[in-house]
Subunit: 137 residues, 4 copies
């Protein structure tokens, strides 16, 4: 994010879609939320599936990196999101639990809920962990 | 919101992330592309996984709806995206192929490639198809 | 095949791999287990990934059918299994929780653990629910 | 498989379910098939989803190991199988294509078809590749 680092853009997808409230307990639970605006909806007025996928991936990759960086990097490897209930307003809350914290990968399960605490989407996220010098694969 | 249809916001996630070039042959192949900008990256300067997931979902849900609507609606049910190669610039091209076109679901496979035609991400997308009057589940 | 119903084979995959102990609370939790034998391993002596996938699918499709049948049928639509820890012996216990019970689909998350209660694999299972007369898609 | 190696059982899941015809071009395409018998069906007389998942995983993990072993091992990390069409008889043919052959993971897409060459199931398979001395994670 600093001005001197050309690889750290000041814009990013989290800001673009309005993600906020990231938290991580340093162990195995992380959170984030996404206020619902038209900018994250699909044309029929419900939240776009990609917004859920992006929210889950941001929370889990940031948390993994907080745990393993800066010696290692954390990169999303697979994002499997299932949609259970359309959302039209309010705020989407993401609750992520690390189910595996291995040397080469972390696996998270993420629940995303609406303002009435109804489950709206589920993500399973595999985050690859690689040491900085071997991050090419 | 446009004045004529309160459910159709004039902003949407496709515009927010800059998706363009949607095409559909009316049968089983659809395309779209996403120019890489900082606004779709994660903090380390590579394209955010959620941007790939959103691109694939937009292309396939729009194409499915073009084929089955307006009598039926098309809603994303599951989006499974695997990331193969980080992307830092250029344009991401999505090529989607319908592998199943059933009465209640369509299944698509999507390849996303960079400017050098290298495969960067894969999505399998299940789109639920429901008649308008029974769209609640 | 039993004489009364040519579609109900007396052999099936559950018996072939030795699944046992199916239970369902009638609501949202189901269980099953798979004793580890050579017959379910891959050539290197650890349990084959397909055995986990089969166990999770059996538990969730049986439970869904118990809830929605016989007016409706329950058919596996998507099985996404992630492997966390190899298993060489003992018994694999599956605990499945229904996360969505809709009119046209149920979504389950399944945890599979070893004798030391360590998490070994996760499955997310989408079960399509269709009325008997419209089960063709 | 040799009698002297206690980790190589003479029984295994591939034999248990009757898989045959494994082939691999040494590069990026692999095949296998599964004759349909009652032993691989679910109780309603169609092939159990776990049989498709097992077939796809066997073909792709064997092929990956042929390419990277014995210096490295190949272990299934994620198996995402989507079911498109029920199968009641004949033989299931699996055609697997490697979409990514990285240092730490291979990613395959597998198509499974029936005797009439109709697509019945799709698997995306992530195979983790680890050097023998660091295979613990």
């Amino acid at each position: 994010m600093c001005s001197g680092d050309p690889d750290r853009p000041t814009e990013n997808l989290e800001k673009t879609i309005g993600m906020e409230g990231f938290g991580f307990d340093g162990e195995s639970e992380a959170t984030g939320r996404l206020p619902v605006t038209d900018a994250i909806k699909q044309p029929f007025g419900i939240v776009h599936g990609g917004a859920f996928a992006a929210l889950a991936e941001s929370v889990t990759s940031r948390a993994t990196y907080e745990a393993v960086g800066p010696e290692s990097i954390a990169m999303g490897q697979a994002n499997d999101t299932t949609f259970l209930r359309p959302v039209r307003g309010g705020t989407i809350e993401a609750l992520a639990r690390a189910r595996h914290r291995g040397r080469t990968s972390w696996v998270w399960e993420v629940e995303m809920s609406d303002d009435d605490d109804r489950l709206c989407a589920l993500t399973r996220m595999i985050i690859a962990v690689r040491s900085m010098e071997r991050a090419d694969a």
